[in-house]
């Protein structure tokens, strides 16, 4: 087993000891400290409010030179999140900087939930709805949140 870089140890420890508000990070597998799971509360004033979303995160070999790999496990109705939970977010792609941290990324994702970016969509049909009939979009997103991300679901 390769030695875990100090940076990763420090960051993960920090996430557990001093969690990001509204998020709970866990290491499900003690043998793989690069793999984390996160429970993220949907941001207030958004159709995702009240939901708790499961994410999984992997810190690749090149981290922090490469961004962490992260996806939603809970289905989310959102123009920038696809059916497999993959997230379209600039800091996870070309805007990544090694100075960013897991914490930064998680906050960005939470923010993305609250403020979708339909102009750079992963799913064009949701983006269209989001732009043209926002009420309808919010309604479906709420429905999904209730159906898949209700608190009691994770026991």
């Amino acid at each position: 087993m390769s030695i875990l870089p100090k940076r990763i140890i420090k960051e993960t420890k920090n996430l557990i000891v001093d969690p990001v508000p509204g998020m709970k990070t866990e290491i499900p597998d003690e043998d793989n400290l690069r793999y984390l799971t996160v429970q993220m509360e949907g941001p207030g004033n958004s159709p995702y409010q009240g939901g708790v979303f499961q994410l999984e995160l992997y810190l690749p070999e090149e981290y922090p030179m490469e961004p962490p790999k992260i996806r939603f496990l809970t289905p989310v109705y959102h123009p920038n999140i696809d059916k497999l939970g993959r997230i379209c977010l600039d800091v996870l792609k070309d805007h990544w900087s090694p100075a960013f941290q897991i914490r930064t990324v998680l906050l960005s994702i939470q923010q993305l939930l609250g403020t979708p970016n339909p102009d750079d969509p992963l799913l064009s049909d949701i983006a269209e709805l989001c732009k043209n009939d926002n009420a309808k979009y919010c309604e479906i997103a709420k429905e999904w949140t209730l159906k898949y991300a209700a608190e009691k679901k994770k026991e």
Binding site: K6, R7, I9, E62, M65, S97
Partner: protein, 593 residues
């Protein structure tokens, strides 16, 4: 004062020549001929013969050493530098829209840009030149690097740089920094190895560093955020992981947009620097919207072509028919808009459709690619090895047409007639559903045949030019310039064949019931018969084994007036066909898709 693009370029001659010289136009330096259409085939050879002009350079250099202004010493050094020689072979200067500056390779292009930029800076903004080379420890090399980075961060576009300079705020305060940051020259990498604290954590790898002598930190000058630092190892890894995919690198700090200067990256690691330059050039050349700077799309060809188009002249590819084709110094002619082989008279859009069509139907069309055909008289397999369709069986001496397999008699000197008939015959007998494919297949066959003819001609011409020109020049003591007519003619012939090839692709899409279609085919036929005529004649010269070599050579010379006339004829016929094609497209006679 803002100078327009054209002025800008014409002014530059003053830089390259000392001011007392009168040089009205055309050549930048060394090039002896004012013949605009002349191409330089053997650059080094030519360069040798131009060497007498070298005194111009020396004169220039001697003037420069008397320059009193400290800031200009480097500028003058740059003039004396060998890069002047390197760009000497670039030829032709912008006069109007259709003129190009040609460079035999990327290095020459870069050097030329450096000189141009240097000229712009010293002319337009003396202050900037002084900023760029004011520091006493600046070497010529470093000054050059700064100019290169300025170009690389601005799409190698001098106009763009000029625009930025014009828009600079005028207040004195921070002006120097302003200029430097606008031009991307600010923000050097600095290495820090003394801190107030005894220990410091690298924000990237989180290792605690105590021995700053052993492990130093790196920061970017002018980045105000003191937390945007990293230990040397992390910074190098960061640079390395970014350098292969970009030509500008930001400070390591989170969303920090401070760009690291090229020059400091070079000091850091020369390979990184070269990669950045390479990538920046690549980006610039690959940009289809950038018509100003073009790299020859031909594989393994390193030529660069500058045009008079500036970034704001946007060309609508869907409607433009009057396509600009340019030739690089190796005579690779290509379309400026789509950067593919020159394809007049067909438009870029239709061409794309045509190639899609070919890919779709590739399998069923394999037979067309077959190069041999049995003699219609005696069944001997015949391979077509030259460009003309007038075939003569080597076995039974039967003369026939390659396209229709019928006796050559009655073809009126061209196989065009049979092409027309065949197309119509096919239309009659096939039902509607089959018609489109049959139609495509026919035009595709003509297309492929034309291409083969072109390739065969090229082979023949390589033969002709390399052998013949040598013979002639030794026999009659003629210079290559005097024999240029043969080259010109051959080149024109190839281009005409190329145009014929693409005219078939265009015809496929067109409504053949329209009168213009008929006019177009008529024009096509005229060009075709001229090509056949010239091609057959040149073939004769090459093949006629009854004549001794010297006699054949004389024959070439005797034909000089004819060939010169034929060349201009071919040129005109091509123009006609191209114009007619333009009409066809503009009248929206595209009916097949």
């Amino acid at each position: 004062m803002v100078s327009t693009g054209t002025d800008f370029y014409s002014n530059n001659n003053n830089f390259l020549y000392s001011s007392d010289e009168e040089n009205d136009d055309v050549e930048i330096m060394f090039d002896d001929s004012s013949d605009e259409s002349s191409h330089i085939d053997d650059t080094s050879n030519k360069l040798q013969s131009f060497l007498p002009n070298k005194n111009k350079l020396e004169k220039l250099a001697s003037i420069s050493s008397f320059s009193t202004k400290n800031t200009h010493v480097l500028v003058e050094l740059l003039k004396k530098d060998k890069i002047n020689n390197e760009i000497a072979v670039s030829h032709r200067k912008f006069k109007n829209k259709n003129d190009y500056l040609l460079f035999p390779n990327k290095q020459n292009f870069i050097n030329y840009q450096i000189l141009e930029l240097n000229n712009l800076l010293s002319k337009y903004n003396n202050e900037l030149t002084s900023i760029l080379c004011d520091k006493p420890d600046n070497s010529l090399e470093e000054y050059k690097d700064r100019l290169i980075s300025l170009l690389a961060t601005n799409s190698w576009n001098i106009f763009q740089i000029e625009k930025k300079l014009i828009n600079l705020p005028t207040e004195k305060e921070n002006r120097e920094d302003n200029i430097l940051s606008t031009t991307g020259l600010l923000n050097d990498i600095i290495i820090i190895n003394n801190f107030d604290q005894d220990a410091l954590d690298c924000p990237i790898c989180c290792e605690t560093i105590t021995d700053f002598e052993k492990t130093s930190f790196i920061k970017i000058t002018n980045c105000d955020d003191s937390s945007h630092i990293a230990c040397k190892d992390c910074y190098i890894t960061y640079l390395k992981s970014n350098i292969s995919e970009t030509f500008s690198i930001n400070c390591i700090g989170g969303a920090c947009k401070t760009k690291i200067s090229y020059t400091s990256i070079k000091k850091f690691n020369e390979t990184f620097f070269n990669n950045l330059i390479k990538f920046s050039l690549l980006q610039c050349f690959n940009d289809l919207n950038n018509l100003a700077i073009n790299s020859c799309p031909e594989q393994e060809c390193d030529n660069v072509i500058l045009t008079n188009y500036q970034d704001d002249s946007i060309i609508d590819l869907t409607t433009t028919v009057n396509l600009e084709s340019v030739s690089c110094l190796n005579c690779h002619k290509f379309c400026l808009s789509c950067k593919k082989e020159s394809h007049s008279p067909i438009t870029c859009i239709l061409l794309k459709k045509w190639f899609n069509k070919i890919n779709e139907g590739n399998e069923s069309l394999n037979w067309v690619l077959n190069n041999t055909q049995p003699c219609p008289n005696c069944d001997v397999d015949i391979e077509k090895i030259d460009g003309c369709n007038h075939m003569k069986c080597g076995f039974c001496k039967y003369e026939f047409c390659w396209i229709c397999n019928k006796n050559w008699e009655g073809h009126g000197g061209s196989f065009y007639d049979c092409m027309n008939k065949r197309d119509m015959d096919n239309k009659k007998e096939k039902n509607m559903q089959n018609q489109s494919f049959t139609r495509f297949r026919n035009y595709y066959k003509f297309f492929i045949e034309s291409e083969n003819n072109m390739l065969l001609d090229m082979r023949l011409f390589n033969n002709l030019t390399s052998k013949k020109l040598n013979n002639l020049s030794t026999l009659f003591g003629m210079s290559f310039v005097e024999l240029e007519f043969l080259n010109d003619c051959l080149r024109e012939l190839i281009q005409a064949r190329n145009m014929i090839k693409y005219s078939f692709a265009l015809l496929y899409f067109m409504d053949q019931s329209h009168n213009l279609f008929y006019i177009f085919t008529h024009n096509q036929m005229s060009l075709f018969s001229k090509i056949d005529e010239v091609s057959e004649l040149l073939l004769d010269i090459n093949m006629d084994s009854t004549l001794p070599n010297s006699k054949r050579d004389i024959k070439v010379l005797q034909m000089k007036p004819y060939l010169i006339q034929a060349t201009s004829m071919l040129k005109r016929l091509q123009q006609n066909l191209s114009k007619c094609g333009q009409d066809l497209v503009e009248k929206k006679l595209v009916i097949y898709n």
